[in-house]
């Protein structure tokens, strides 16, 4: 059984360490997975953004170019027809160039080169606008020159815009490439990590389940053993009880028949003067009586052990102690003992058990009185902070060496040989059993020639009042 426990302890440590490692590893794997998922998502977002930006830019530039072309066409139409309706594009041109500004604003915090180029585009646009306005009023000989100039500016702008578009497309492709890479590589990577994590989990689960199984086995084993021990204990109890019970009858018969023999032969023993012979019979009777007393005490002890059968009520310890005092009345008087009793509590318990406890404790104090000191017995209800019930019985008796304090509560232990005939040493064992049956405890302090103090503790739950 001890081997089992040691094994259990060692394997608990080992398995716990293993479990910690598995949990930390799994945690790290999940962190990596979360990071990868986050990065993939970010790339997807920036790639989508740059695609949107490219599309928006291209549309805007197309609009812009067509506006400039419309302006050019309007000028040419007006010059040919002098019809003012051809001038509508001119009126709208200024605000349309301004709308170009909003795109430029998008670049302010972005790419510096692109921003500069966009500024050039705007500048050229304004130049083209003023050129068109000049064209409307310019004399004929200057027109060709102006038109040519406009053509050059237009080409410059177209090339700038083309360059910008090219630039954006490169960027887009760059992101697309990354995205593709991520899309292609991520599944394999994720799959590998997940498979590894699952493997670790499977191994961990296997080890932990195996461990739990072995623990359960040990547990079952232990509880079986406890059951066996309890059964064996009960059997031993029963054997002891039955044996004691059975021994009582023959002993009673021995006493009855020997005393019958004596009464029947009264004349032989008294008038015949066979006193010596009678002494033998008396000794036999005494021995039988002593044996019977032992059995009686043991039976009482045995009965107290079966506390599950005992009916519990509210027991007033004052009543119990009064009863004990009354019972010991003769000896108290004989020893001229000075007895003081505090007001005692009411305890939830078995009356017989409580009586046995106090009777034995009091008996002990009374029995081991000091031949020279006057006997004082104090029964106290000690107040304490723990709300425990703390009761104390102290005497001024012969006391004993504390070296024996362990043995004193053992069954059949007697510290004082001179008191051989006063009992079989069962009293304090009874006390201990009773107190422990109520989940309390009993301690002893003693000094030779100074007296003995027994402290009895009951849990607060035993208290009624």
């Amino acid at each position: 059984m001890e081997k089992d426990i040691l094994f259990a302890e060692a394997s608990v440590k080992k398995t716990l360490n293993f479990a910690y490692i598995v949990f930390i590893a799994t945690y790290l794997i999940f962190l990596v997975l979360a990071f990868l998922a986050y990065r993939g998502q970010l790339q997807l977002v920036s790639s989508t953004n740059s695609a949107n930006q490219y599309n928006y830019f291209a549309l805007r530039m197309e609009d812009h170019m067509s506006m400039l072309k419309g302006l050019d066409a309007g000028t040419k139409g007006f010059l040919l027809t002098k019809d003012s309706t051809f001038l509508i594009p001119h009126r709208r041109a200024e605000s349309q160039i301004d709308s170009l500004l909003t795109i430029i604003n998008d670049y302010r915090e972005g790419d510096v080169i692109e921003f500069e180029e966009m500024k050039k585009v705007r500048a050229i646009s304004y130049q083209l606008l003023s050129l068109q306005k000049k064209l409307l009023n310019a004399p004929e000989e200057k027109r060709n020159m102006l038109l040519k100039y406009g053509r050059i500016k237009m080409d410059t702008m177209t090339s700038i815009i083309a360059h910008l578009k090219e630039n954006k497309l490169t960027k887009l492709n760059y992101y697309r490439h990354f995205q593709n890479e991520a899309i292609q590589e991520a599944p394999t990577f994720l799959l590998t990590i997940i498979v590894v994590a699952l493997l670790i989990f499977a191994v961990a689960a296997f080890v932990i389940i195996k461990f739990i199984r072995s623990l359960v086995k040990i547990q079952l084993n232990l509880s079986h053993k406890i059951e066996e021990v309890e059964k064996a204990n009960k059997e031993l109890d029963l054997y002891a009880f039955t044996l004691t019970h059975h021994l009582q009858e023959p002993l009673r018969k021995v006493r009855l028949f020997v005393s019958r023999f004596v009464t029947k032969n009264k004349i032989f023993f008294t008038e015949g003067g066979h006193q010596e012979e009678k002494v033998f019979l008396d000794k036999a009777l005494e021995s039988a009586e002593l044996a019977q007393k032992y059995l009686d005490e043991f039976l009482d002890f045995s009965r107290l052990l079966h506390h599950d059968k005992i009916e519990k009520t509210a027991v007033n310890l004052n009543t119990i102690i009064n009863k004990v005092l009354k019972e010991h009345h003769a000896v108290i008087n004989e020893k001229d003992a000075d007895i003081s009793v505090d007001n005692m509590p009411i305890i939830w318990g078995g009356e017989t058990q409580m009586y046995a406890l106090w009777s034995h404790l009091f008996d002990n104090a009374l029995k081991f009185s000091h031949p020279e000191h006057p006997l004082k017995i104090k029964i106290e209800n000690v107040k304490n902070e723990n709300k425990m019930i703390h009761l104390r019985i102290s005497d001024t008796g012969i006391g004993f060496d504390m070296a024996h304090s362990e043995k004193i509560f053992d069954i059949f232990q007697r510290l004082h040989k001179s008191h051989l005939n006063k009992g079989m040493g069962i009293g304090l064992a009874v006390c201990k059993r009773v107190v422990e049956a109520y989940k309390g405890s009993i301690t002893v302090h003693s000094e030779p020639d100074r007296g003995t103090v027994f402290d009895v503790y009951f849990p607060a739950t035993a208290m009624v009042i």
Binding site: E249, K253, R255, L256, F257, S259, V262, T263, K264
Partner: protein
């Protein structure tokens, strides 16, 4: 049939005490004690509860030729076949028998046995003494109380 006390006394002057005990030694010792004390009564023995009930109801081996009814029953508790408690219960439930005083006479000192037998209608509970002197005392007390002091002679005969 109801008869007068006077005629009863003439017919049946001596008290009959029956001891139900399976232990032959105890029966012998009880006879010894009665003899030693010279108690004026007839002491009869039965060996267990079944025997006792047969004797009281005149059945079995105590057939028709026996028409006596005991004046006092001394009843042991632990007996084979039918123990003292069962026998006591049957006696006290039988309207023809329940008037007979029953004194429990047992080695048992357990408070449960005492309480139960009193509840079942026992009239006394005596713990079997461990010495012959004690037994002499007990039998003397039985004589003094149940024979000399109280009136137990049955007034009803069947």
């Amino acid at each position: 049939m109801i008869v007068s006390i006077e005629s009863m006394k003439k017919e049946n002057n001596v008290n009959i005490i029956v001891l139900a005990d399976d232990d032959a030694d105890d029966r012998l010792l009880m006879a010894e004690a009665f003899e030693e004390n010279k108690i004026p009564c007839i002491l009869k023995f039965v060996e267990d509860g079944v025997d006792l009930l047969d004797y009281l109801t005149k059945k079995g081996k105590y057939g028709s030729d026996c028409d006596e009814t005991p004046d006092l029953i001394l009843l042991d508790i632990n007996m084979p076949r039918k123990d003292g408690k069962e026998a006591l219960k049957e006696i006290k439930e039988n309207p023809l028998l329940k008037h007979i005083p029953v004194v429990m006479f047992s080695t048992s000192k357990s408070p449960e046995d005492v309480t139960i037998t009193y509840k079942l209608g026992a009239n006394s509970f005596i713990v079997k003494p461990s010495s012959f002197e004690g037994l002499l005392e007990v039998t003397k007390t039985i004589q003094k109380y149940w024979i000399d002091t109280v009136s137990i002679k049955s007034v009803i005969s069947y």
